[in-house]
Symmetry: C2
Subunit: 336 residues, 2 copies
């Protein structure tokens, strides 16, 4: 298996991406293909005396910046690491592509260069969130901010397949993110989506609310990309705020500082549980090839885990399973 | 000043509401009017040997349940504590109304029985959220899940007036909750709202994102009620999850348990900083009378603080200031 990594993507590329690639190459039975400027990548690789054999390099002369306009930049910079990496995916020279670069550019290039799976109209970004009782896959967190109900149905089918095949959940539950639990709640858009999900054959549990996201009660929660993006970023913001406020209050006296020091293993444990880096990248579901988006601020560990998500998705034939789910649904609808 | 409290509203009414009313009557220079079933209120009051003199009672025979249909229940139960309390507000027998009951019913009854301020088309629920650098007023968190751009402009004007008059912020900043900072981001709805806010005369700082909600960087953030509701409930969910996970990890060994015990003052401090109960109720801005919505799970302290929010709103002539802001804006638009 070969996985292309956008070596130039992310706030501290290529140092961090190369570090993540080296780790992944050591831990996973895959070949990691670093895509980007040869000289810059070689410089970063020079700090690893024993370069893993399953690490290769494909040169790409251009870099798309984090703030560049997605569609314009992928049209203009044909030889960017994102375009070249996704070109390798399109030509099936690699099995998956991972990038911590410009999310919009990765998304647009994935759609334009690689295309979508049969039966899928719009891709969705799925993110695995930690919860008290387990993880929840939230889809979509921003690929499609003005979706139609049919798109959310497709997210449900794809998310369900992801939870079943990649995460190993035996019978995943699917909820619809809304402002109340009753069927009558929400906008007309939500009511129509509810009806589609109800007749879809997925294990639909009805409307869920923002306060159901971090309980781990549901395997998959589907939402429009606007609400999903707001929810995800709000959660990140609150986690940061709690961390900052807790740090400030733990420093209030010598006693609390001693307490914090004694309890440090507990804080490390918590950090491990809620740290996005542990969960790796967010799959862009619906693309005709595995395309994984990592956080721009990804650490080497987060990059490694994003490569692991790509590896698991390929290994479990995610896209084949998603297409099967879509086809099964079409037959289900026809026979109904 | 007289403030009516829905004694029957909330998960543990009337015990908790009465306890909150007693506290408020002792701390604030107001008369608290308990509205609800006389016998039930009297039973709860019996546990306070010295009943404050500034506590009175208005009988209402019916109670609207937390899960009842809002519009149907306020039409059917004319003698409910919500209808009777808002009737007192309408007739100006009280200066404000506070309820921890059925949010939808309070909202509908406020609109139908009391009416809206001149120039306001839809009310918005505003909630004060704690942040690292200070508090942020988020409006709307669910009164209006399918708003028009003009409604968000009105939220901005009202929120700005609230921050200035009630919270004492000298020149409040106003942001628009969106999925990216650039002006071109978001749906057509968002772009139109952006244009309205830009020409409105409020101190508009542009688009903000979910991760700006808990920084305290902005005084007021306006949003559609759907996204606001999802953001608020997601934040509640994450706070609960972090609390549960931290408690679990702090219990992992005798050392971490000792550490947690030594650091307990720090945890209490954090709890105080992020606890909704400290901030009290959420004003329903735009109603022609002060109407405050409290969380259904409000503690006695939260009820007291909701009564304090009502008191501060009346004392600072919130509604007069909001109407002035709306009129000033109309002149601003005409002269432009």
């Amino acid at each position: 298996m070969k996985i292309a990594l956008d070596a130039m993507g992310g706030d501290t590329a290529p140092e961090t991406t190369v570090a993540g690639a080296v780790r992944a190459a050591r831990e996973l039975p895959v070949e990691v293909v670093l895509v980007g400027r040869r000289d810059a990548i070689e410089r970063s690789l020079a700090s690893y005396p024993k370069r893993p054999k399953n690490l290769s390099l494909v040169h790409a002369t251009e870099v798309i910046g984090m703030d560049e306009s997605p569609v314009a930049s992928i049209r203009k910079k044909r030889d960017s690491s994102i375009n070249v990496g996704l070109g390798l995916l399109k030509e099936k020279q690699v099995d998956a592509f991972v990038s911590a670069g410009n999310t919009g550019a990765v998304m647009s290039a994935s759609m334009l260069l690689v295309g979508l799976l049969s039966g899928i109209e719009r891709p969705g970004i799925a993110i695995l969130l930690p919860g008290v009782k387990g993880d929840t896959l939230l889809i979509d967190v921003g690929a499609n901010i003005d979706p139609r109900p049919i798109h959310l149905l497709q997210y449900a089918l794809m998310g369900e397949a992801y939870a079943r095949c990649v995460l190993g959940t035996s019978r995943p539950t699917v909820g619809l993110l809304n402002v109340g639990a009753e069927e009558s709640k929400g906008t007309d858009f939500m009511k129509e989506t509810y009806g589609l999900l109800e007749g879809s054959g997925v294990n639909f549990v009805g409307n869920v609310e923002g306060h159901d996201i971090f309980t781990g009660e549901y395997s998959v929660i589907v939402c429009d990309g606007f609400a999903g993006n707001v929810a995800l970023k709000t959660a990140e913001s609150l986690a940061h705020a709690i961390k900052a406020l807790l740090r400030r209050s733990l420093a209030m006296s010598p006693i609390t500082r001693l307490g914090a020091w004694l309890a440090r293993d507990a804080f490390l444990q918590l950090r491990k549980e809620i740290d996005y880096a542990e969960h790796g990248g967010a799959p862009l579901l619906g693309v005709d090839g595995i395309s994984i988006i990592a956080h721009g601020a990804s650490s080497a560990k987060a990059i490694k885990n994003a490569l692991r998500v790509a590896y698991e998705s390929v290994r479990h034939e995610l896209n084949k399973n998603m297409v099967d789910a879509i086809q099964l649904h079409s037959q289900h609808v026809k026979s109904a």
